[in-house]
Symmetry: C2
Subunit: 162 residues, 2 copies
């Protein structure tokens, strides 16, 4: 296999892993009603609604980090990333969270569909061009790998609600 084909294949495999986790999340959400998402995953732990909001907010933050665009729901950072569950913030209704997940994923996937290996291996927006020349692993693909594992981590918890 030519080396440029190798890089494109590796990028495709990583994208497929991201898609797979998103598919697991959607399958989980289809299997539970809104009421159940208000339950805690274990006694005293996060609720399903908080974890869903957290995953949406983290995915939304990928838009500026990957240079795709502005966040669609900047108001979600405070209650779902900066604050723990039960911090007193009002959460959007679960029906609204479900819709926001679809909107954020559509924006990410539309951009991902156009990116080749060169673009994925370009720097993400939280690293300066100077630092990036010394640390080429701080690229967009690494953000995708990291966020895929983060999502897998919380999906494992959400599944306990079933």
């Amino acid at each position: 296999m030519a080396t440029n084909q190798q890089a494109e294949l590796l990028v495709k495999m990583t994208r497929t892993a991201w898609d797979a986790q998103n598919k697991y999340l959607m399958q989980f959400l289809e299997s539970v009603d809104n009421q159940k998402l208000h339950n805690e995953i274990a006694p005293g732990k996060n609720t399903g609604a908080y974890l869903l909001g957290h995953l949406i907010a983290v995915s939304d933050a990928m838009l500026p980090l990957l240079g795709i665009g502005d966040k669609l729901y900047p108001d979600m950072e405070e209650p779902f990333i900066k604050s723990p569950d039960k911090s007193g913030h009002n959460f959007p209704p679960v029906t609204e969270l479900r819709q926001r997940l679809d909107v954020v994923n559509a924006a990410l996937n539309m951009a991902f569909d156009k990116m080749n290996a060169d673009e994925w291996l370009g720097r993400h927006m939280a690293v300066s061009p100077e630092d990036f020349t010394k640390e080429p692993h701080r690229n967009k693909m690494n953000v995708l790998i990291s966020r895929t594992n983060h999502m897998a981590n919380h999906i494992g918890q959400l599944l306990l609600l079933k």
Copy 2:
């Protein structure tokens, strides 16, 4: 960046993600005593000991799947992969499980340290050479990506024991 460098960088990033999950698992194990690992992660769900055994058994099965060698603990497949928790199987003591995790990880990492992008993109042992020519994504790197996400999934659950 030359395209062969791109492939090696992508391979390194995926390896780093695997290492990171293993590190999280070790940090978790250092933070809990053996007694706590016998608790259920949530009422009626898997125990920590089962999930630890499950992760060891799945990692052990990577040895033959990646063509590295035979399983070190083939007796773990039945109680920890083929069977659910509380199936009546006797589990090794948690102290023994902790040691087995170290042994399996050492065997995997020693092999991983020697593999370049060409080797990672070679077929895994569960796909035939004929099928692999048609489906080049069924390679060793894809196994590593999949197992990394699987581990992240269960680490998210184990963390509930803390």
